[in-house]
Amino acid sequence: MNYRLLYFASLADAAGCAEESVASDTHDPRALYAELRARHGFVFDATRLRVAINGAFGGWNDTLADGDEIAFIPPVSGG
């Protein structure tokens, strides 16, 4: 499966990019995050993040489709 990843704030700093295409054998956000965390050294445990799939909040166990755009949302600090 190929996914489009969007990174924000400290996750973008850790990944060294704001977005990337990733080929992965994982099928849900939870497994995908674990794989990317190992690759990029993300400090956040998944429990501190939310996940967005194709521009809407989604669930960690949702089934991903080829071509999905996924963002892991670190704790927000607007306002």
Partner: protein, 148 residues
């Protein structure tokens, strides 16, 4: 109509306020969040806001729609800056009009709390000591980088 917007340009409260006009409204409450020169004991020189644009606008819109359902108000609106900001800049503006002041105060307070809690926007503070870092809800910077 988009009642929650992200903007790279200066926010003009007088322009925003006009969108709250309603003949039945007897009260208008607005909140302005400003960029301050210190946080957590450190001197702040400037900051950057980054947003997940599409999701932030969708979530911000949902916050304001929920406020309209929860409180007896006539109109509600919010604008949040993105990009680089200087000390004293207006970073976020929330405005509410209602028939009576109680609901206007309550709704305005609720909206800014919800925006801070759930809209995907992040603040990167640049400190006087050359460090910088993205802030997360516990108020501490999790990532620091040298002079940047």
């Amino acid at each position: 109509m988009k009642v929650f917007t992200l903007d790279t340009a200066r926010i003009d409260p007088q322009v925003q306020r006009r969108h709250l006009d309603h003949p039945s409204a007897g009260a208008c409450v607005s909140f302005e969040g400003w960029v301050r020169d210190h946080n957590d004991g450190k001197a702040v020189l400037r900051l950057d806001y980054q947003a997940y644009g599409a999701l932030a606008e969708h979530e911000g819109q949902a916050v304001l729609a929920e406020a309209m359902r929860r409180f007896p108000i006539r109109a509600a609106r919010c604008v949040h800056r993105v990009g680089p900001l200087e000390i004293g800049d207006l970073a976020v503006w929330v405005g509410v009009s209602a028939d009576h002041r109680g609901a206007a105060f309550e709704a305005c307070h609720w909206i800014i709390d919800e925006v801070k809690r759930r809209v995907p926007i992040w603040k990167n503070e640049h400190y006087a000591d050359g460090q910088s870092g993205w802030l997360h809800p516990d108020g501490s910077a999790v990532a620091t980088a040298g002079a940047g």
